[in-house]
């Protein structure tokens, strides 16, 4: 099996198989990340498309510095989301009433609860941008904390703190029937 560096280098030389491997290896994660960040499915598809457009265009200039390819790809994805927010001019927020709370009858049984992605996205709109980014990268892209730190340009400690505060806040929003 080829290591990631040689796959990236082959893709840079126009090897379509290598490009396909990179695409197949990361597509679903980029899509999930975008779904968590933007919520709307059509828009998530559009944003995913834009990420791969940029990645394809910038791939020849990509310099391998030992960091996983995903870090580079998700920096593009992150920038896309930031650009989108900038274009829109203001943050899309959700009032607490718009978030469908998870059933509060059995909080301990929540591990069995099927929360929808729409519920999660609506709840994440109550978070800070940095908290949302951590949720998108950790749970959508399934990145490690060190990868998230690299993408966000923060320390691992800062990412862990953001992750903790984000999960606490999500629980507060989604379980508000219990916690207030």
């Amino acid at each position: 099996m080829q290591d990631e560096e040689s796959i990236v280098r082959a893709a840079q030389k126009g090897d379509s198989d290598a490009f396909s491997m990179l695409y197949e290896g990361h597509f679903d994660k980029v899509y999930r990340y975008m779904s968590l960040r933007v919520g709307d499915r059509a828009e998530a598809e559009d944003m995913t498309q834009q990420v791969f457009v940029k990645a394809f265009e910038a791939l020849p200039a990509f310099k391998w510095r030992g960091a996983p390819f995903a870090s580079w790809l998700f920096r593009i994805a992150h920038n896309q989301v930031v650009d989108r927010q900038r274009r829109r001019g203001k943050q899309v927020t959700t009032s607490l009433e718009e978030v469908t709370a998870v059933s509060g009858d059995d909080p301990e049984g929540m591990v069995e609860t099927r929360m929808s992605v729409e519920q999660v996205v609506a709840a994440t709109r109550r978070l800070t941008p940095a908290q949302r980014e951590v949720i998108g990268l950790r749970f959508g892209a399934e990145m490690s904390t060190s990868e998230v730190a690299r993408v966000m340009g923060k320390s691992e400690g800062a990412v862990k703190a953001l992750q903790h505060s984000a999960v606490v806040a999500l629980r507060k929003v989604l379980m508000r029937d219990d916690d207030g």
Binding site: G14, D28, V53, P107, V120, Q163, H164, V168, L174
Partner: protein, 305 residues
């Protein structure tokens, strides 16, 4: 004692590897009361996030090589210059006629094989514009534009093989422009109306008498590896098309043939030319998609089954 942020992070990773919440809590009894609800929330978020992209979207995007942003930039430029181009239509025809009269048929024929950047290339493109302006039928216009698109791909191949790769971008932009005009032409009400008319035998013949019917250079450069002639070659279908639907069907084959030709070119090209060829592939894929889909009835809303 480890901080709760650290423990939560560790346990999220362990859940991802398949461990149970209970096992994580057992490893950190001092945090269990606080950690349990957070881990249940994290697990629920993880499950909700495990959504699958639509397979057709994933496949289409892979094929199209992800060119939306580039084409958006091109569309902006078209928007800016579109009005100016329309205003210049008659001036173009007049200048074109003058060029043809002054240059004579020999020059026109000589220009057929010219490439971007060469002295006679201007004659070639002027002749094309005149042909378009003098073709009244929308279907025939679309067919003519498809033929021009084929020429542009041939030109890209020739430019690269002749060491003139710096002109590839200019040519691929022209290729995309020709293809975009096909979509606009076919989606116009006149084309749709014309389809019924054509079935009734109203088809307008291309202007045969005009001296712009120059011999077409053989399109061998565009033949893709392993490509069969005949049923996979959209050129004959473009020529035979009598309705917008038939033009679109032919374009589907042409899109695949051109894509294959450009990818083959990419394989052989020198490194310095590859970025421009990649951009050409992206532009062509996007523009073909738009040409085929535009006016092809209301598009399915993405994201909805």
């Amino acid at each position: 004692m480890a901080r709760i942020e650290q423990v939560l992070d560790e346990c999220i990773d362990r859940l991802r590897r398949g461990e149970s919440i209970e096992r994580c809590l057992a490893s950190h009894p001092e945090h269990a009361a606080e950690l349990g609800p957070l881990l249940r929330m994290a697990a629920a978020v993880g499950r909700a996030s495990a959504i699958e992209p639509r397979p057709e979207f994933k496949a289409r995007l892979k094929y199209q090589a992800l060119s939306a942003l580039q084409s958006a930039g091109e569309k902006k430029r078209h928007g800016l210059f579109g009005g100016l181009a329309r205003a210049r239509t008659w001036a173009t025809v007049a200048v074109g006629v003058l060029v043809l009269v002054l240059a004579g048929g020999g020059t026109v024929i000589a220009s057929t094989n010219s490439l971007p950047g060469e002295p006679l290339y201007g004659v070639k493109t002027t002749v094309e514009r005149v042909q378009l302006a003098l073709t009244p039928s929308k279907v025939e216009k679309a067919k003519l534009l498809a033929k021009f698109a084929d020429r542009r791909v041939n030109e890209i191949v020739s430019l690269v093989t002749q060491g003139k790769g710096e002109r590839v971008d200019q040519t691929s932009v022209a290729l995309a422009r020709d293809l975009n005009r096909i979509g606009e032409t076919l989606s116009s009400p006149a084309a749709v109306k014309g389809e019924a008319g054509l079935l009734g035998g109203e088809a307008a013949a291309p202007p045969q008498a005009y001296p712009t019917q120059t011999p077409e250079p053989p399109s061998v450069a565009v033949a893709a590896p392993g490509e069969r002639g005949g049923e996979d070659d959209g050129r004959a279908e473009v020529k035979a098309a009598r309705s917008p639907t038939e033009v679109r069907e032919a374009l589907r084959k042409e899109a695949l043939r051109h894509q294959a030709a450009l990818e083959k070119l990419l394989e052989k090209a020198e490194e310095k030319d590859k970025p421009a060829i990649r951009r050409a592939i992206l532009r062509a894929a996007q523009a073909y998609q738009a040409a085929i889909e535009e006016g092809d009835g209301p598009r399915g809303e993405p994201g909805k089954p």
